[in-house]
């Protein structure tokens, strides 16, 4: 039920702006909520500075009270993703954040590795801040399988009861973790870009873009455990390595006969070796937008990227128009990148694009429209025509070689 206190309403309109279903209007400088349109999403309650809007559960009981004994849960866990025995880069990125959260809570940090024959990589996790590694090592676990991995994770989470479980928001993480969270009957926040601990309640504050990046929402999971989140790759920084750090490795026994797995992997085909595959990890990215007009013009982008030793990226229109394959797409529905240098050429800077690149260290924007939103996130702005700037830049860089 949504409750509204007209006394407290100042008519500021922040609820009207934030409401995703347009269920609120200002009439005579007071918010008026259309209850048929309202989905009780809570955005307005969170946006209202004066507490005029509150959302209450129909039953007066505490919202979502799960009867779970929260005090039994302790520690921060990271679910490590591996492909063919290699750790995904997001695992190391999560370790830095995981360590920070664990230190704030004064609890241990553990990593779960499910795979086969990965002893070296498992041991190296100590240097990234793990206190414990839970290692499931069996040939049946070599390849990712939603059902098998879910069963294993549910068992060990139930046994050791961590309070926080994090995973990368990769194809694997976003497929696997929802099933795990549902089996555990707990909350899960997808695609987080910021994680912090609420100092008063010790809850995990999980912040993620919503409505295509137009707003950021902070989400908590107060009464269920563990608190689970998937985290966008390349938004957290990989920590410094400390080679002497101690760490306990706990081998989790695996009995293949316990599990009845219905889905079978027939084959795994790797695609996009070459530039596109390197995009997420590149230090330098040169990206082109709709202004490139066709695939031939993308040679300008390729040449510039080649000269700088960087990777090529694209906004969505070049991908939708099939000038570039999907794997080059950067943004909400594409890859997230966090290079040292990002050069945006003829890209307007729609929020859906910005969420995929705005944490880049230095952003250069080249656009002929001075009011393009890309300049709001840029470090260096060039108002100009890419068909003049890029050839001149390429020429200068070639001269300097």
């Amino acid at each position: 039920m949504i409750l509204f206190d007209p006394e407290k309403c100042t008519g500021c309109g922040s609820c009207v702006d934030i409401c995703p279903t347009d269920a609120i209007e200002l009439i005579n400088e007071k918010a008026v909520i259309n209850e048929d349109e309202c989905q009780l999403c809570g955005s307005c309650e969170a946006a209202c500075e004066t507490g005029a809007i509150t959302i209450e559960s129909e039953e007066s009981e505490e919202k979502g009270d799960s009867g779970v004994d929260l005090s039994q849960y302790r520690g921060v866990w990271i679910i490590a993703e591996q492909r063919k025995g290699c750790m995904a880069p997001v695992v190391y990125q999560l370790m830095g954040k995981g360590r920070e959260l664990a230190d704030t809570l004064d609890v241990p940090l553990a990593v779960v590795v499910i795979g086969f024959d990965m002893r070296d990589q498992v041991e190296s996790l100590a240097g990234y801040g793990a206190d414990t590694v839970y290692y499931v090592n069996h040939s049946d676990c070599a390849d990712f399988n939603d059902e098998l991995y879910t069963d294993i994770l549910v068992d060990i989470i139930n046994k050791y009861k961590p309070e926080i479980v994090l995973s990368g928001a990769t194809a694997i993480g976003r497929s696997l973790i929802p099933g795990v969270a549902t089996r555990l009957e707990t909350g899960l926040t997808a695609d987080c870009t910021q994680l912090e601990i609420d100092p008063e309640k010790n809850l995990l504050l999980q912040t993620r873009p919503a409505y295509g990046g137009h707003i950021m929402a902070t989400i908590v999971c107060p009464n269920h455990r563990p608190q689970m989140a998937t985290v966008r790759p390349n938004v957290m920084k990989k920590p410094q390595v400390n080679p002497d750090a101690p760490c306990e490795i706990v081998e989790i026994p695996f009995d293949p006969n316990v599990y009845s797995i219905r889905t079978k992997l027939v084959e795994h085909i790797c695609e996009g070796e070459g530039e596109g595959a390197l995009l997420s990890d590149a230090d330098i990215v040169v990206a082109g937008g709709r202004a490139l007009k066709n695939s031939e013009n993308f040679e300008l982008i390729q040449t510039l990227a080649g000269l700088l030793g960087g990777a090529v990226g694209a906004s969505r229109p070049p991908v939708d128009s099939e000038w570039m394959p999907y794997r080059y797409q950067i943004g909400q529905t594409g890859k997230t990148v966090c290079p040292k240098l990002y050069i945006a050429c003829g890209i307007s800077g729609a929020v859906q694009h910005l969420v995929g690149m705005e944490s880049s260290e230095v952003i250069v924007a080249i656009n002929k429209d001075r009011s393009a939103p890309i300049f709001e996130v840029a470090t260096y702005g060039i108002e100009g025509d890419i068909y003049e700037i890029l050839p001149a830049l390429i020429k200068r860089l070639k001269e300097l070689r």
Partner: protein, 261 residues
């Protein structure tokens, strides 16, 4: 083959833009549409039905006006539609949504395959499909870009991964979430549009699907939104002005300071 497709009605603003001065959303002409990814699920359902027989049912959980999305789906040739609607469903997070939808599917009983979109564009979570499959105890495959074959109750599908794709065999009944690469949705036919207007649509509430109220909607949700804010943009922009050559020189200078180029 009987196919159950889950669709969600989402707000769609033709032009979603931020006002550069006030940083508020400019939303001219917001309308409700079927979540775009669910359109591919509907289309795939129709194609399977056309090649193998059976029927396609769409189901959605939402307010009464979500009926529009169901009628829209019928106009593409879907056979039947069910609306899960009850005040008790409102405010559901993905945990409560997957609970409600799974009960809806159980109440329908008769399905060999469930199709969902890879994610809903309003919440962008992609959690409801896998969650529902777990609750129904059926296998699932996410990000399916192709159904290669169906033999003896087993489907062979291709699913997109970050580094390529996987070919997976999954026995039916199963749940798939689909991506846009899977097909090109058709346009509605006039005949189906006429039928869609008249067809009666079943509406099931909490009691009809045998739901426990405490697990529904806001009460059954594990997560809570505590804050929403406009993304902060650090502005430390330096304009590189002048002629093209001057601009390029200035940029090359900055790049050299960064030790690139």
């Amino acid at each position: 083959m009987n196919i159950l497709v889950f669709i969600k009605q989402v707000p769609y603003a033709k032009e979603v833009r931020l006002d550069p001065k006030t940083h508020t959303l400019i939303r001219d002409g917001v309308e409700s549409i079927i979540n775009p990814y669910d359109m591919y699920a509907i289309e795939e359902g129709l194609r399977l039905k056309e090649s193998r027989g059976g029927k396609v049912t769409v189901m959605t959980m939402g307010p009464p006006q979500a009926e529009d999305a169901l009628r829209d789906a019928l106009s593409y040739g879907v056979d039947d539609a069910v609306l899960l609607s009850d005040r008790a469903f409102a405010g559901a997070d993905t945990l409560a949504t997957s609970y409600t939808l799974a009960l809806g599917a159980k109440n329908l009983r008769d399905f060999d395959l469930i199709l969902c979109g890879k994610q809903a564009v309003d919440g962008d979570t992609g959690q409801v499909g896998p969650g529902m499959a777990v609750r129904l105890d059926i296998p699932y495959v996410t990000y399916v870009r192709k159904i290669r074959s169906v033999d003896d109750g087993t489907m062979r599908v291709e699913r997109i991964m970050d580094d390529g794709y996987e070919v997976i065999d999954v026995p039916l009944p199963a749940l798939l979430t689909v991506v846009k690469e899977i097909n090109e949705p058709r346009v509605p036919s006039l005949k189906n549009k006429m039928r869609a207007k008249k067809q009666s649509i079943a509406v099931w509430g909490a009691a009809d699907i045998g739901a426990t109220t405490a697990r529904l909607g806001l009460a059954g949700s594990a997560t809570q939104v505590t804050d929403v804010f406009k993304p902060e943009r650090k502005s430390n922009l330096e304009w590189l002005e002048g002629s093209v050559d001057e601009q390029v020189d200035a940029l090359v200078d900055r790049l050299q300071k960064l030790k690139v180029g």
